[in-house]
Subunit: 120 residues, 2 copies
DNA sequence: GATATCTGTTTCCTTTTGGAAAGTAGTTTC
DNA sequence: GAAACTACTTTCCAAAAGGAAACAGATATC
């Protein structure tokens, strides 16, 4: 299975491929876009808030995904010293740069659904 | 684990959630963005062309992903009656509507990589 | 006739992902 | 002091995703 790139083997394409890999490595999975989208809308949400907002997610996945997003500097985590301890999750400046991507993706999804319903 | 949505339980947010689910159901996996991106650049590529262009993919995944994309009307498949049989894969009009999303994602990936290198 | 090319499919396996449920731990209200 | 609330973690398991390699069928070239 030897391979020689022939068509898109330009520098820009290699860079774009790498960029998509980079982006997906940080955004892959079933929940990241939902969590980020929710945090972009209403900033500063507690764990239980997110559990309520992100429809269908469980504690394990929410916890794990939030850790991933925090590691990648897209979400911040702040422990508040309130009566029953609460934690505030918020989108970072870095994370906010994703809002156009998420917006575009959501818009595409809406249009896609429409076009599918038309053809049926 | 009772849940009551309190913050983003508006109609637009429900629609956006659904839109992201729709989009991801069609675009999930390791290779779809790469294949679509490649087909948007150079239209009409053979199976072997794609195998060469999409760095790292194997025959099984390429075959499977192309089938998925064809089912969802994002890619067209045309069998040519050439000497050794060849097949032309191309992006559909429907598929072309993804170009802005892919563009945004790639741009974000590029900027993200830059910012990570800066902070290190 | 052997080898090569094009387009896949099939098999077998490992890794990754995701989910349900129970457990942990601290605080606070009744 | 029992129950409730917040914020998780852990365990155990099932399903999905992904990959390497072999196989297959058709034509065409050496």
């Amino acid at each position: 299975m030897k391979k020689k790139a022939t068509v898109n083997n330009t520098f820009v394409c290699q860079v774009r491929m790498q960029a998509i890999r980079d982006a997906m490595s940080v955004l892959s999975g079933k929940w990241k876009f939902h969590i980020l989208g929710t945090l972009i809308e209403g900033d500063k949400l507690g764990f239980m808030d997110l559990l309520r907002e992100v429809d269908g997610i469980g504690t394990k996945m929410l916890s794990k995904e939030l850790q991933d997003l925090e590691i990648n500097h897209l979400v911040s985590r702040t422990v508040m010293n309130t009566k029953p301890i609460t934690v505030e999750y918020a989108i970072t400046e870095q994370g906010k740069t994703l809002s156009t991507v998420i917006e575009e993706l959501a818009n595409w999804g809406i249009e896609y659904r429409k076009s599918i319903l038309d053809t049926k």
